[in-house]
Symmetry: C2
Subunit: 539 residues, 2 copies
Amino acid sequence: MLEAIFAPQSVAVIGASPDPTKLGHRILKNLLDAGYAGRIYPIHRGASQVLNVPAYPAIGSVLDTIDLAVVVVPAATVLTVAEECGRHGVKGLVVISAGFKEIGRAGHELERRLVDIVRQYGMHMVGPNCLGIIDTTTKLNASFAALYPQPGQIAFMSQSGALCTAILDWSKSQDIGFSRFVSLGNKADVDEVMLLRAWGADPANNRAILAYLEGIGDGSAFIAAARDVTKHTPVIAIKSGTTQSGARAVSLHTGALAGSERAYEAAFDQSGVLRARSMQELFDFALAFAYQPLIPGDRLAIVTNAGGPGIIATDAAERSGLKLAELAPATIETLRANLPATASIYNPIDVIGDARADRYRTALTAALDDPNVDAVLVLFTPQAGSEPEETARVIVELAAGRTRPIVTSSMGAASIGPALQILNQCRIPNYAFPERAVAALRAMVNQRRWTERPPGEYVRFAVDTERVRALFERVRSEGRIEPGELEAREVIEAYGMRLPKSFLAQSPEEAAEIAARPGFPDASFGKERGDGYALRCIY
Amino acid sequence: MLEAIFAPQSVAVIGASPDPTKLGHRILKNLLDAGYAGRIYPIHRGASQVLNVPAYPAIGSVLDTIDLAVVVVPAATVLTVAEECGRHGVKGLVVISAGFKEIGRAGHELERRLVDIVRQYGMHMVGPNCLGIIDTTTKLNASFAALYPQPGQIAFMSQSGALCTAILDWSKSQDIGFSRFVSLGNKADVDEVMLLRAWGADPANNRAILAYLEGIGDGSAFIAAARDVTKHTPVIAIKSGTTQSGARAVSLHTGALAGSERAYEAAFDQSGVLRARSMQELFDFALAFAYQPLIPGDRLAIVTNAGGPGIIATDAAERSGLKLAELAPATIETLRANLPATASIYNPIDVIGDARADRYRTALTAALDDPNVDAVLVLFTPQAGSEPEETARVIVELAAGRTRPIVTSSMGAASIGPALQILNQCRIPNYAFPERAVAALRAMVNQRRWTERPPGEYVRFAVDTERVRALFERVRSEGRIEPGELEAREVIEAYGMRLPKSFLAQSPEEAAEIAARPGFPDASFGKERGDGYALRCIY
């Protein structure tokens, strides 16, 4: 559905400029630099060429079909340009230009008309008001991002463009690669639901789908899409703006309503979306999914060359609900026969501070071969005699072809830099501290359990929405902003939930009379209110 | 009390070896390399000099007083050496040698005798079985650590030597400095309580005290010491081994009992010790305390150049219980007058993506001058036109001399490296993600509230411990491993807590008879058990 956007045969950059200070210049340069193999058409009113590529005054003058147009012209011109694109048969738009919904009422109207044009011509559009998109599988950089990420198998969408630039910058230093990287902007057309479905259809390239969301347009559609995708591809989300102050900040930022924490929590739970508590976790989880096979169960083995970190990891595992694997007798025998007497041959397996790479090989092989072990966490602290690089190579070698994940926490930094590089290049996720490694494995267990859950089905309950609507209209027409207690009961009952019976008495005498009715074993009187007496009774 | 150990006038290295593969060689080299200004005496049976320093066959042959002796000889020789040190008037020992309590019964006995010698001569001892100690204020490196840390104002003690090396390595890459750095080893003499008191007495050098603990020897002494110290110096601890599996791992590791999660939680709560949930948090918190003034209240202002990160920070603040400061009208006016119309002049203050350093100056000055603001979190994402280094310099300049903390989360890495260096060198804590910055500020609020709490006093309750002891002895003598229900009630009552009265009836008839007694409004009969009927009644 979105091939025209992510895998176009030809791309026009409308607003490509010879002036290097303009975004349109940067975007064309990015497109050229990333090595995109398709045909490129800069569109600029005056220039005959931009960055040595022949330019055209308008898209109508290009004698070629164009799949994707990147639009970076003033907001006032965007509608005309979109119209021209539609007429020319363009299938996808990435509208970088700002000046739409985010600026208030006038922009809102402009955006509505833009969407009309997009729909009229059967196009799809990312944006407006976005940083653009990147697809490393097609080497397409249709963005003004300052950095182009390494290829990888993590797909990332973000409702914040600034976050995109920050993440690209940070991921560069961490050697984290991406398959797709999308700044959603105002998501007037292409939104999280469409991207979920499109990316979910390509699990080979997108081993983990990450989303930073400030609001979700259509909750039901999101849940439905997520339920389909999460069954085979982990979706990890940060939904921000869920606290009261956060929601206020979202509203100031994009004019969107952020929705309540609980509603999102429930939606994510019901659709198997893994929620990251922080940006750090978002990428910690993603690395585990992108680099390693999905964990088959919840039994963890720990191999360490130091007691302290082993204990830290053990604590973290138990707190997060992972089990410390009970090693099979054969494993314990192997460890006893091949490790020094002072080693701990139970789990955590402590190969002791002076362990060289060979001792890690012994312990890790034994743990990986143990049928009681679902995942191995290797802890490494640099000590006298340690062989960080050789140990990293052993881990890489033993991890190859396994169906159970291996993650590491090589603590330290300065002295183990090359070892960290080996691990990362060979797709062994490494975490600076053991707790983060454990949290990532825990996310894998959640994903595994979700994929094994029976699909379930949606039950639509018979809800008397008319009654509720009428009630709220009455409340509103009386100038009130909240319903009374008895009205609230009516709402609850309209949703099919049962409540103890309740009566409203107009006087103490009437209350006593009601309480005296047969079958009335317990009655409590409410406090006097302006409008009478509230009486609640259970029978 | 521990000056001989941390600020000795003279140091002997007993076991200093000319063989570069030996620990004793490494330790002497470390001592020389760090620039220690006192007198150094290598002790080695055969060599006349080690590393160009005149050596002595035994400490008795040194014609000088010696404050500190670092002992790195085989365990079997340590007692003799300690005795010689005592006779020579040595005041402090750092015993690196292993082979004591951690190896089991024989080592336990050896350690007991070592402690006897230490006490007999009025010495103090760190270790045995440790990595050694570092004090950057006296340039003393009496350890075999591979790295010497930068000077700083964070004091760190660890019950895991491997963790020490990992932390030194990692902190090097993060530019984190330390005042003191101690590997506690078996803590046969110097323990967490002594270090707390010693370090707490030097708040100028130790602005934050960090501890990685697997077990605490004397809980009451720890609480008492911590209560004194935490009133002026933050103490941040990771207590590991508090889960069931973790405790088992601790016991395998050091033979110590780890104690229950709840007991430690309560002890830390009662003594103002801040508990870090992870190693990362331990240092995140430490940086805020070491670099910035203590937060005066809980009202946070956020200055950002991007909406998304601002919302993430706002969410994190509200979740952690910090308040978003309500900016004073004058502040809002200043911001309105000096920021572009599209900026958000409420909190979070959004200076918008194209902000250069001057706009950060405007917003940060206004926030810092606002009496409603207790702390400022500055968020920075690299965008087109951003000035990372210049912005960092503005932050540093404006932070100088303030009584309210400023922390930053400059997201990204590759492109903002020099800016991060400026911030760190000028003691502005920077966190890779906003959530971590918020958590550190929250820890500061906890510390502030603790320091403002009235000191309180200990109440000793009248507990009938004799009755409880007798009861448990009876249970044990009957070969049972848990008390019965009525016995458990007796224990609770012995601790002065009141319970509904309870009787044990031997038959249904007796139960009915008891239930028929006067003042017996409600009675419920337990299920039949082998030993009779349990009867619980409330009157």
